[in-house]
């Protein structure tokens, strides 16, 4: 079971995301669910779920979660984020486990640790320091 959660600076059109997620995880588009976070009306689990939430501010204003069942073995979170960044020209911000300040910035061209503004973080806004 894969469970990813990171931030994007921009949200691609859901229909485009649907195809891209299927391609990145190598599953049939019929097994992919794309929708707003916490607005799932119920139903059987998808093979890959892709949900998003508008944080209404900050440099990275979209929370973006991916979840996959046990039939899906990859890619890992950074590689999945990088594939979406390349496909849509996005910037992604991935959390690290041992710090609220240091995150992993992934773009089509780079992958590096960056610091976020901790005061903004308390307001659920993700802004690079």
């Amino acid at each position: 079971m894969l469970s990813y959660s990171f931030l994007l600076d921009r949200l691609p059109a859901p229909a485009e995301l649907h195809g891209a997620v299927a391609e990145v995880f190598g599953v049939s588009p019929a097994g992919v669910y794309v929708g707003a976070m916490y607005e799932d009306a119920g139903g059987p689990p998808a093979t890959v779920s892709c949900t998003y939430l508008d944080l209404e501010g900050g440099e990275f204003r979209w929370r973006f979660d991916l979840g996959a069942d046990d039939t899906v073995t990859g890619p890992a979170e950074p590689e999945a984020a990088a594939a979406l960044c390349r496909r849509f020209g996005l910037r992604a911000l991935l959390p690290t486990d041992d710090s609220d300040e240091w995150w992993r910035l992934i773009t089509a061209d780079e992958d590096r640790r960056v610091a976020v503004d901790l005061d903004e973080l308390n307001e659920d806004r993700y802004v690079l320091a």
Binding site: Y38, A41, S49, L53, R63, S99
Partner: protein
Amino acid sequence: MTPKPRGPHGNGGDGNGGDGDGTPGKPGDGDGSGSPAKKYGDIDAGKGVTSAHEAIKKRADAGRPGGADAPAQPTVDPNVPGPAGKIQLRPPSDRHQLNRVTPKSPAKAENTIILPETRDAVRQDIADIQAGRARWDPDSNSYVTDSGRRYKVESNGTVFPVDGPGFVQLNRSEYKALQALIRFNGDVDAATASVARDPSIPPESFDKAGEVYQHYKK
């Protein structure tokens, strides 16, 4: 154990000072008209507007880490080992305070939650660390207090809770389940349905999340 389902609006307050005695006020209460002044928790309207505002602010700050009731923060002492000897410490990010968790924070692989009943102890821990009354472990870049709680320190002095009594570790699925419970005010059925299509949040994720939710807004 899963929390008892509640209605979608069963937990209205935001915990920022609105948890007084629940007595609604009326226009004119305590306004010098000769009737006894109304008391709202520890806010005595008979003591004047300024006093009431100060009391309200104190109560609001008390809900925040490092608020009005926080122990006096010692000054930076360069003899204290580790970052506490170089910088003024700040309370942990809101994402760790159970009463301030929102559905907006991305879930990490491991998420440390501070239970509300440990909030005051964390304030004391921070004061103890700043004063040099905690053990600095250079190998893990963390402090361990007498309470057994372990903390790291970010570059701006913000304390990062790691583990110990009163802290709960949630994995990514459990943290997402907790966020869904918070989003739906503890309504387990609504929360579960809202993530039903996500295979990474199986129903059993709500077991531990539900136990933690029992402490929410307490």
